[in-house]
């Protein structure tokens, strides 16, 4: 098994996921299988290969610095669970 229980727990915390005890063993196993699968790439000789940042071999196109998106707040906030005075409301975040 390439991943242990602690690593999976750490990933779950980072992803804000709660794993029930009975799901845990299975999740460790499944995630490990994925990692093992991808790990086959390690065997490929890459000494002379330049790291690839993107599969499309092109450079980023740029856009001119122009304001093209007008205020659409009223429309966009129809999708929000709750708003107040133009603010999106979320459960209180305590610092």
């Amino acid at each position: 098994m390439s991943l242990d229980k602690d690593q999976v727990q750490h990933i779950a915390v980072l992803a804000r996921l709660h794993l029930a005890d009975d799901e845990f063993a299975e999740t460790v196993q499944k995630l490990s299988r994925i990692v093992d699968f991808v790990d086959q790439l390690v065997a490929a000789p890459t000494d002379d290969v330049v790291p690839m940042a993107h599969p499309v071999n092109q450079a980023q196109r740029l856009r001119p610095d122009r304001v093209s998106e007008p205020n659409d707040r009223e429309h966009l906030q129809q999708n929000a669970a709750e708003t107040s005075d133009g603010l999106y409301l979320v459960p209180k975040v305590i610092e």
């Binding site: 915390v13 740029l62 001119p64 610095d65 122009r66 998106e69 205020n71 979320v90």
Partner: protein
Amino acid sequence: MSRNWEVVIGLEIHTQLATKSKIFSGAATAYGAAPNTQACLVDLGYPGTLPVLNEEVVRMATKFGLAVNAEIARRSVFARKNYFYPDLPKGYQISQYELPIVGEGELFIEDADGKQKRIGITRAHLEEDAGKSIHEGLDRHSGIDLNRAGTPLLEIVSEPDLRSAQEAVAYMRKIHSIVRYLEISDGNMQEGSFRCDANVSVRPRGQEKLGTRAELKNLNSFRFVEKAINYEVERQIEILEDGGEVVQETRLYDSDKDETRSMRSKEEANDYRYFPDPDLLPVEIDEEYIAAVRATLPELPAAKQQRFIEQYSIKPEDADILTTSRALADYFETAAGATDGKAQVVANWVIGELTGALNKESLEIEQSPVSPEALAQLVSRISDDTISGKIAKEVFEAMWRGEGSADAIIEAKGLRQITDNSAIEAIVDQVIAANPGQAAEYRAGKDKLIGFFVGQVMKETQGKANPGAVNKLLKDKLSG
């Protein structure tokens, strides 16, 4: 601060780039708009939207890199920095990690001994800002304003080359001055356009290995940077001298209490899981582009300071102050150019009276009610002996209040210096006659009383007598 400890500081400065639209979307970036009126689908992290890079941020970052003598990456890559917070709707911030647009650079500050000191710049990278959370007055909720989400930032990271809070502030001021010269940021600290985090550690003098550092967050004024670092240095030295250990952590500076305190974040140690953003292709910059940007660079503060010293023969420290901003430097040059070789006097007035008056009313140099040409006329009236330096201050105040030009005010108020020696002589005689006691004491050797007599004559003439002439006449008469 103890002589046994060496302070080591590195700064991360976040500069908001002065674009019209956001780094990856066409929403506006104007400051102070009503909440969420400048947040479009891309900024809100809607599914199916894609970021498109603003060409202006690439140009601005390149400009900065060239100004600090840095290598511009021919190929740079955007990466995702993953973390959860409600003001970051996508769940990641688009930043740069392994391949930033600006590589190693440098700038020079003056250290405590007035010597030039090189400060290394590790890198500068482009990233998007997050939104703003509002916690007050919303009961069980926090309010999220995403106007700032997607605002372009250039994060400038220094080497740990700074050795005191003063050096850190000097470095920060230089960067501030450079970004404003380049017109890539308004540098407005109240509005958060220019803010900094400081990595602070101490180590026993002579030790190679760096001490454990604390990161001080979000310092948004030069004064706070200095105070926060000084507090933090004291705190760390105290811990170490008591045999304790400094904990690596993030600390917030509380300006009301003038102390730093642990953020006690319950987050696990930062684990941002950076990876190249598949939504963005690598940014490629060629020689031609770099040459074109280089051609647009203005004269930078350090070069301008050197030129001022040589061209105008003013004091180096004055040249330093006058080149803090382009507008101030331009003001000085216009005024100095309109006088006949009185640049140092102009410098004194700009740094002294003018800056004092501007500060008092919280005005910028561009808003000065006294134009550089008007100030030049005032300086010329001092140098041609029309008025004394003391009277000039009175004239300046009247100019500031909008009462007209120096010449008009001098004429209207009858402030012209009395150059007629016989007129001064008469007053000198009168003053000596009125103060026989002091005259006798002076003659008996109490030289200091000359000041008293000069004062009396000045009073009689309402300050209009030439102080040099008064002095000479008094000495002649009193010793005669």
